[in-house]
Every structure is written in structure tokens, then in C-alpha cells.
């Protein structure tokens, strides 16, 4: 894999053949004010025993039909580092025995700095994790506080250093930009610090106001809202600094040093197949998208009675799969192959307007969004062109 550039088309096409597994770990010490994910806020509700949930995950894995061997496994959340390494290990064992693992499998999870201990790190290493993404979010303590995070800048450093010491092959961090409390200078410092501590992968997310969150209520009550133009500026600032340090953007929010692409990420955006476990998890295989119960009780109840904990299903025709591939591929720096649908979009008024506006590029058999911050504008038009096929 290291022979590919992170944004190479050949790599993206290869990723489309990978098989992945996603495991959702919903526990959080407390809900962040901007978050609308399916989580269990343990500051409010600590009644759910982690072990019970892990049992259910293991059972659910056992119910899945043949798939694999797996190229990538990812634990997301919530906060996966709320589980102890032994519990994570039980789930990995279940996945291994059910599907098998490729010899070079990517085994990754998200870790919050406030959960870090050296012992936890050793446990991850023993469990076979090859990749860790640290929920750093910012190196500005004011911004960390505004984001309602529980960790300090020092904890981020300790976590990254600790992971290196444990021999985790790929260490990444997540950053959130564009909170109104952030300034252009504080963002530059955050990005520079991320470069200095020496990580292999950075995911950058623009702060988004989701309905129903504390953030959106605060804004409704008069607190300053994130500004699109400012966020576009910050994104550009990041691109400039990170590129000069050898990072390459391979997806809107994801940047990696050579050979450090997150396989699970790339596979998802390349329209690869994945199985998924835990609450609110979504899987995608054979042109079917399932989604699991969002509420823990419903999930546990279903698994306990031997049912798959499904909340819904979507069956996709070949054309609909094609449409999804186009939609996802437009998020990738490598772009999407010029399939018949993509060609029709390219030839449409909307498509040509995008090219003229310098947002979309067509060449070498592919179509790419070259202004990543405008991707949804492109996808919207692409969807309406491809809708005719579905």
C-alpha cells in the first residue's frame, strides 16, 4: 500500500474491493455541546454496564453471515477508549473468528486523551491495534473549553507520545475548526503544533451546528454562530500548512502522510463493503444498507432474543449503487471514475457550470471536486442527474 500516493486513483479503486468492519462504542463521559451522535451520556445515565454491551456486540458479530477476511476494522463512537483493552479484545476475537483477518489488517480506534494511561496503551498494542486516532480537536485550551472537551493540551501530547512508545504504527489526530472562539492565529498554532508532535494522519472537521444540540440552542439564544467564510479560510490555512509538511488530502476531511491512509475511511468513501455492529451502526454489502436500532435498550433486547437489531433496510438497484458510488467518490481527492452517469452529469448544464466555476475537474478518465469545501453543491446536482436512472 505504501507504493501509492494517498490521493491516488488506483488506491481508491483498490479500496473499493476492501472489506471492513465497524464497531460502534456509544459510551461518553459526557455529551459534547455540538454532538448529535447516538451515544450514551454517562454523566446522565451510567446504568448501562459496558460488559453487557460488549456481550451484545459479540453476540451480534456471531449472527452475521460470511464476509471477509477483513482488510480493516474500526472502533468508533461515542468514545471507544471508554472500553478497556480486554473488552476491545473480546470484540476483535469475535470478529476474527467470524470473518478472519487479512495479514496486513488495519485495526483502528478512536481514543480520547482524558482516557489515556500507559497501561491502556500497552493493552491496545497487545490487542493488535495498528492505528489510533486521538480526539485532540484543538491545541488551544480556550477552544477546547468552548467545545466542552474534558482534556487539556498536555493530555494530547502525552497520548500521542505514549502511542508512539507503545509501537502503534499509525497515529492520527482529529481536529475541529471554525468554532467562533477560534481565531485565525489560534488555528494556525493548532495546525503547527499538530505538525510538531509528529502524527501520520489528520482528520479535520468544520464545526457544524446540528439541530437539537446545546450548541444550536445557545446560538438560537444569541451566541455567535460558526461562519462559512471563516471556515473556508481555516480549511485553506490547514491545506497550506499540512501540505508543506508532507500531508496529502485524500478525502474532504482526511489527510495522510505517504502510506498512512486510513483504510477504513478510504474504503467507506470508495463505496467498499462493510459490516457494522452496535447501536446506530450502518452496514453495506451486496447492495443492501442496513441500519441498527439507535436506542440501546431496543438494541440489547433484539440481540438478547436472537434477532438482528435492525431498524431499517434499503435495497439498492445497480443504478442506485452506481449513484452512491458517484456521490461518495466526489468526496475523494482521487475523484470518481467517469461512469456513464458521471459522464451525463459532466455534460449537464449544472455539471458544466461547476466546471466553469472551477469547482469540478474532468480528466484522465475521472471526475474530481477541486474545491473540497463546495462538495455538497456538486453532489446535489450529480444526484439529480443520476436520479433519472434510479
Amino acid at each position: 500500500m505504501s507504493e501509492y500516493r494517498s490521493d491516488s486513483a488506483a488506491l481508491a479503486d483498490l479500496a473499493a474491493t476492501w472489506k471492513s468492519a465497524y464497531v460502534h462504542v456509544p459510551f461518553c463521559r459526557r455529551r459534547c455541546p455540538y454532538c448529535d451522535f447516538a451515544i450514551v451520556d454517562e454523566s446522565n445515565d451510567g446504568s448501562l454496564d459496558h460488559e453487557t454491551y460488549v456481550d451484545a456486540l459479540v453476540t451480534e458479530v456471531g449472527m452475521e453471515s460470511d464476509f471477509g477476511p477483513l482488510d480493516a476494522v474500526n472502533f468508533g463512537g461515542g468514545t471507544p477508549s471508554r472500553l478497556d483493552p480486554k473488552q476491545l479484545r473480546r470484540v476483535i476475537d469475535a470478529l476474527t473468528s467470524r470473518f478472519g483477518l487479512k495479514s496486513d489488517v488495519e485495526m483502528s480506534l478512536e481514543v480520547n486523551p482524558e482516557d489515556w494511561t500507559d497501561e491502556f496503551g500497552r493493552g491496545l498494542s497487545e490487542a493488535g491495534f495498528t492505528r489510533v486516532s486521538v480526539g485532540a480537536q484543538s491545541f488551544d485550551s480556550g477552544v477546547l473549553e468552548a467545545l466542552g472537551r474534558l482534556h487539556t493540551v498536555e493530555m494530547i501530547d502525552a497520548t500521542v507520545q505514549g502511542l508512539r512508545a507503545c509501537g502503534i504504527r499509525s497515529v492520527g489526530i482529529d481536529l475541529i475548526f471554525g468554532h467562533p472562539s477560534e481565531t485565525g492565529r489560534s488555528w494556525t498554532r493548532t495546525v503547527e503544533q499538530a505538525m510538531e508532535i509528529g502524527v501520520d494522519h489528520i482528520s479535520t472537521y468544520s464545526l457544524t451546528v446540528e439541530t437539537g444540540t446545546k450548541l444550536s440552542r445557545d446560538i438560537a439564544a444569541g451566541a455567535p454562530a460558526p461562519d462559512d467564510d471563516v471556515q473556508a479560510d481555516r480549511y485553506q490555512q490547514f491545506e497550506e500548512i499540512s501540505q508543506s509538511h508532507g500531508f496529502v488530502r485524500y478525502e474532504i476531511s482526511n489527510h495522510a502522510k505517504p502510506g498512512q491512509v486510513c483504510r477504513y475511511n478510504l474504503a467507506t468513501w470508495s463505496h467498499g463493503e462493510y459490516v457494522a455492529f452496535g447501536i446506530a451502526a450502518h452496514d453495506h454489502r451486496w447492495g443492501v444498507r442496513y441500519r441498527n436500532h439507535q436506542r440501546v435498550e431496543r438494541y440489547l433486547e433484539a440481540v438478547a432474543t436472537g434477532d438482528r437489531p435492525r431498524l431499517g433496510v434499503e435495497y439498492l438497484s445497480e443504478q442506485e449503487q452506481e449513484r452512491d458510488r458517484l456521490m461518495l467518490g466526489l468526496r475523494l481527492a482521487a475523484g470518481t471514475p467517469l461512469t456513464p452517469t458521471a459522464r451525463r452529469f459532466a455534460a449537464s448544464d449544472a455539471g458544466m457550470a461547476m466546471v466553469e466555476a472551477g469547482i469540478l475537474e474532468i480528466g484522465a478518465g475521472r471526475m474530481r471536486v477541486v474545491v473540497p469545501m463546495m462538495t455538497d453543491a456538486v453532489i446535489r446536482e450529480a444526484l439529480s442527474v443520476s436520479a433519472a436512472d434510479c
Binding site: A38, D228, S253, H282, H284, R291, L328, M374, R380, L383
Partner: protein, 600 residues
């Protein structure tokens, strides 16, 4: 009825001066309406009339009065619209009368409209009885108001009748004054029939009902009649009077007022002002004064939802059944789609029609800024009538543009004279006469462009005189003016709905204002969108909607592609309601909002 015992009169009054209450009282006092059937504003049948306290359609009601001399009299009260927009209808209604009551609120005094209508009554040769109403109000100053009336009408203060329509005080004296002072009709009972149509309305079951005043001869059910202006022969299938409910009498003699039904459904066949005669024994000359309705103000009406175009057409067709002055023709706007260019008698007429379309026909409408009828004199020598700014030819081919001027009369408390003069001057008004009605109230005469009145003059006059000034106007003449068309361009494409003809001096203000508003209303696009105001090819204002720089959502958690796709599809659905102006997407709401702001 013997003509000597008929009295035909109308009541002239300003809004809120108590005309409808007085009419109600007269009906009640004579027992025309049993007390249990009384309701307020009996003569105003339309909801809108009751709500706004105005009369839009004329009405006529017969009451019988037994005078102190023991004789029975037949009174026909002809209720006329009070507003300047309907002055032609007013003049026809007055033509049907021999007298008028000039009713003035004792706490307010004479208003411009009342005065205009009083002058109209005097010019029509009517005997006018001045009446001061609301004498029981605390703020009443009946002596001052009586003084104003004497100033206008001549005579002495003894001629002024004091009443309270509300309490009924003075009403008996008013009846006697009507009998004594108003002349009897002067028609010739034995001459061929001549009857004036002074209003008409559409009834779903009966078709067109014409309100008529018989001048000479008699109108009898079953007669073959002829309308002298339209040349149409019809059957008088039903003849009667209104009290105000219809009462079939079969005959109307000379001097009498009543209704005529012919079974005709098209209101155009029985126009206000036409003369009814016998087809077999026609009069040689019609009654004087028939005129075609002439729209003064024009506006484009567009349904907000393009699918409602046919419903708008049907609604206009239905309104026209009752309002032959309503003129319209289809108009297409690149920005607003399909609609109609509609001609109105004036601003109130426009407002009423719009409100009725929205309320009675449940339509959601966008109206373009009202405009007047211009005359463009072309370099090559011909003249072009311009009812819509888009019809104005290129500045290069136009030698001059003429616009309609009106004679405006403003009555204002003396303390606001300076304010009013300043305002009128800023609206290109030329001062004429000035008369003191009393020491406190002044009548000012101006010649000014109708376009200025149509734009915002009336609102400004009201707000600067704290509501005390009143305005009336009548068409005067066309005059050449320094006029230009200001176009608004989005990304170099002109938006037809926003083009406006304005005086050169106001062009910059208008252009800057519109450009600024649009910049706030138009969403950001993939590219910078310049918004410009231009006169011909000369740009007079410019702002830019900067290109959108961020349109993306953060990661889809847990691989929820379905949700993400559905969200984007929904957003795309929303965008379908956008109108394309060239390559710029503009939400319909932005056009609507911009036009609304332009009105304010």
C-alpha cells in the same frame, strides 16, 4: 308616484364621518327596515366595504316618508363610492340625483375628498344640504365646522343641519329639510323613455342587475329596451326597487330610481353611464356624460405559485363581472413567470382588487411596483403608449417622454402648510391656489405627476401631518418630463420585474436601494454575482453577492450514507423552486420580498 313628491339624493361624506350610520338611521326611522333586521352599514354589502368602512359599489334604496305636512314622500338614497378612484362612478351617481347631503364630522371638519365631491355635486347642479354629524361627541366643534361649510357652499350657518346619526338627534329636522329644500325631479313623464344606468352588479342567479334612474317616460317590465351607447337591444325582464332588498314593482316612472334585470350575463353590455330607452320608440338623444372607464394605474399581478395562473385568470374574470373598469391582459415575466398586466382606476382600486383576489379567491400574489401610463415620443416621429416599464423603447430611440399630471387638492391644518409645501415640492408639485377654509384649515392646489402620488406621496403626506391632511386629485394633462427607466441586472441580465420608470433625479436613490436589498435577498452562488442598476447601458449602482465558499457537511458518522443522500436530495428539491435569471438561481421569495420592500 307624483314627481313632486320624489326626492333623489346622495350622501357625500369622508370615510368615518358617519355616512353609513346616517343611512342606517334613515332606514330605521322610516320603518323601511324592521328593527330586528337592522345591522350596521346596511348599504355596504361587501365584507371589504364593512371592514374598511368604505363604499366601493353604489347602492340605491327607496324609503317612504310621511312629512309634517301630511303628504307621503318617496326618498331614493343613492349611496355613492366616496373615493377619488371611483370619481366617474360618483359623477354618474350624482347625475341620478337632484340633491346631496354633505355630511361632515363635527370633530374633524371638511376633508379634501368631501370637498371634491361637493364641488362635483355643485357642478352637476345639485342642491346641497350641509349636515354636521356627531354633534354629541366631546371633541365636536360644530360651529367651526358649520363655518367651513358656509365658506365652501355659501349661504348662512342657519342652513346647516346639526345631527347625531348615532343617537338620532336632529334626524327629524333633516327629513323635513330634505322635503323643503331639495328640488323634485324635472323629467317628462310622457316623453320616450330615458333612464340612466348609474351602476350595475352581477348576481349569480339573475345575471347583471342595473341600477337606473328614470329621467323621462317610464320603464316597464316586458319592454324591449335599447342601450344607446352599446347599441344593444334587450328585454326588461324584471323591474323594481330596492329597500334595500329587491322588491319587484314592474314599473319605474319618471323621476324614480330602481333596478332593471335583462337576463344578460355580460356586464360590458350594460355599462355605467349608458342610457336605457325603448327599442320601439327610442329617444333621439342619450343622457349626457357617458365615458369609457379609464385605468390610471398599472401593475403586474403574478401568482406566487406558477400553477395558480389559471385560477388567477378565473378570479379576474369573476371580479370583472362586477367591475367593468378592471382591465387586464396576460403578461410574461422572466422573473415571475405568467401573470397579468392589470389596469386600475387608482391606488385604492388596486388595493381592493388585490385584497379581494387574495381573500375571496385564496390566491397568493406578487405585484410589481405600480406604474402610470406614459407616452413615449419616438425619434422617428410616432408616439408609443407605455403601460409597463418594459414597453419603453431604448433611450436612444426616444425623443421625449410625457407623463400624466393631476390636479391635486390637499386640505391640511394650517400648522402643516410648510411641511406639505416642502413635501409636494420634493415630489415635483407646482403650487396653484391656496384658500383658507377657516383660520385653522387650508386648501392647497397643486399640479403634480400622478406617478409621484402612485409611488409613496399619500403615505408620506399622512405621516408628515400626523394623519390630518387629506388628498384628492383628478387627471389634468400630459407633460414632457425628464424620465428614465432604471433596470436591475443580475449577473448582467436584466430582471424585467424590477424595471421602473422614474424621474432622473430619483433614479440613483431607487437604483441604490434596490441593489442593496437584492444583495441581502439573493443567496450566494458558485460564482460572484454582480447586481447592478442601470439606465440604458450606464451603470448607476452596483453591489456583489460573493461566491459561496463552503457547501459541505462534516463526516457521515457510522457510514450513514442513506441519510446523507436523502438530505442532499431534499435540499435539491428545495432548489427546484428557484427561478433562473441567466445562470443565477433566485428563490421566488427573494423577488417577492424585494417587491414588498419597494412598496414600503
Amino acid at each position: 308616484m307624483d314627481q313632486s313628491r320624489i326626492r333623489n339624493f346622495s350622501i357625500i361624506a369622508h370615510i368615518d364621518h358617519g355616512k353609513s350610520t346616517l343611512a342606517d338611521r334613515l332606514l330605521e326611522r322610516t320603518g323601511t327596515i324592521p328593527e330586528r333586521d337592522m345591522r350596521e352599514q346596511l348599504l355596504d354589502e361587501m365584507d371589504l366595504e364593512r371592514e374598511r368602512g368604505i363604499t366601493i359599489k353604489a347602492n340605491a334604496v327607496r324609503i317612504d316618508y310621511e312629512a309634517r305636512n301630511g303628504e307621503r314622500y318617496e326618498f331614493n338614497i343613492i349611496d355613492t363610492p366616496g373615493h377619488v378612484d371611483f370619481s366617474y362612478e360618483v359623477s354618474r351617481s350624482l347625475e341620478a340625483c337632484e340633491g346631496a347631503l354633505l355630511l361632515v364630522d363635527a370633530s374633524q371638519g371638511v376633508e379634501a375628498q368631501t370637498l371634491a365631491n361637493a364641488h362635483l355635486a355643485i357642478e352637476s347642479g345639485l342642491e346641497v344640504i350641509p349636515v354636521v354629524n356627531k354633534i354629541d361627541l366631546q371633541a365636536a366643534d360644530p360651529d367651526r365646522v358649520a363655518g367651513e361649510l358656509v365658506n365652501i357652499l355659501g349661504g348662512t350657518e342657519d342652513d346647516v343641519v346639526h345631527v347625531s346619526a348615532k343617537s338620532g338627534a336632529g334626524i327629524d329636522e333633516l327629513f323635513e329639510t330634505i322635503v323643503e329644500r331639495l328640488p323634485e325631479p324635472e323629467g317628462f313623464p310622457d316623453s320616450p323613455l330615458r333612464a340612466l344606468v348609474f351602476d350595475s352588479y352581477y348576481d349569480t342567479y339573475r345575471g347583471v342587475v342595473a341600477l337606473v334612474r328614470v329621467v323621462d317616460g317610464a320603464l316597464t317590465e316586458g319592454d324591449r329596451i335599447r342601450l344607446m351607447a352599446s347599441g344593444q337591444d334587450l328585454d326588461a325582464s324584471e323591474v323594481g326597487i330596492r329597500r334595500p332588498a329587491i322588491e319587484r314593482t314592474g314599473r319605474l316612472g319618471s323621476g324614480e330610481v330602481g333596478y332593471l334585470i335583462t337576463g344578460v350575463k355580460e356586464i360590458d353590455l350594460i355599462r355605467v353611464g349608458d342610457t336605457v330607452t325603448q327599442a320601439g320608440d327610442p329617444a333621439t338623444r342619450p343622457l349626457a356624460g357617458y365615458a369609457e372607464p379609464k385605468p390610471m394605474v398599472f401593475s403586474g399581478l403574478f401568482p406566487t405559485d406558477g400553477d395558480d395562473f389559471e385560477r388567477l385568470r378565473e378570479a379576474l374574470d369573476k371580479l370583472r363581472l362586477n367591475d367593468s373598469s378592471l382591465l387586464y391582459q396576460p403578461e410574461t415575466s422572466r422573473a415571475l413567470g405568467f401573470g397579468f398586466r392589470v389596469g386600475f382606476l387608482g391606488l385604492l382600486h388596486m388595493e381592493i382588487v388585490r385584497e379581494r383576489l387574495e381573500r375571496e379567491y385564496d390566491l397568493d400574489l406578487v405585484a410589481t411596483a405600480p406604474s402610470v401610463e406614459y407616452r413615449a415620443n419616438l425619434v422617428e416621429g410616432s408616439q408609443r403608449i407605455v403601460q409597463s416599464p418594459q414597453d419603453l423603447p431604448d433611450p436612444g430611440s426616444v425623443a421625449s417622454i410625457e407623463e400624466p399630471y393631476v390636479k391635486a387638492m390637499i386640505i391640511t391644518p394650517a400648522e402643516y402648510i410648510g411641511t406639505v409645501m416642502e413635501l409636494v415640492q420634493s415630489k415635483r408639485g407646482e403650487m396653484g391656489e391656496m384658500n383658507y377654509l377657516s383660520t385653522e384649515r387650508v386648501e392647497l392646489h397643486y399640479l403634480m405627476p400622478l406617478a409621484e402620488i402612485v409611488f409613496d406621496f399619500f403615505d408620506m403626506l399622512k405621516s408628515r401631518t400626523r394623519g390630518y391632511a387629506s388628498l384628492d386629485y383628478e387627471p389634468a394633462e400630459y407633460r414632457p418630463s425628464d424620465l428614465v427607466r432604471v433596470d436591475i441586472l443580475l449577473n448582467a441580465q436584466s430582471v424585467d420585474a424590477f424595471s421602473t420608470i422614474v424621474h432622473k433625479e430619483r433614479a440613483y436613490t431607487y437604483g441604490r436601494g434596490m441593489v442593496h436589498k437584492l444583495r441581502e435577498l439573493i443567496p450566494r452562488q458558485l460564482f460572484d454575482v454582480p447586481i447592478q442598476a442601470a439606465i440604458g447601458s450606464r451603470i448607476i449602482a452596483r453591489e456583489t453577492v460573493k461566491a459561496k465558499r463552503k457547501d459541505v457537511t462534516a463526516k457521515c458518522y457510522g457510514g450513514d450514507i442513506t441519510r446523507k443522500r436523502k438530505l442532499l436530495e431534499r435540499q435539491k428539491e428545495g432548489k427546484k423552486r428557484m427561478k433562473m435569471v441567466g445562470s443565477v438561481e433566485v428563490p421566488q421569495e427573494a423577488f417577492v420580498a424585494a417587491l414588498k420592500i419597494a412598496e414600503d
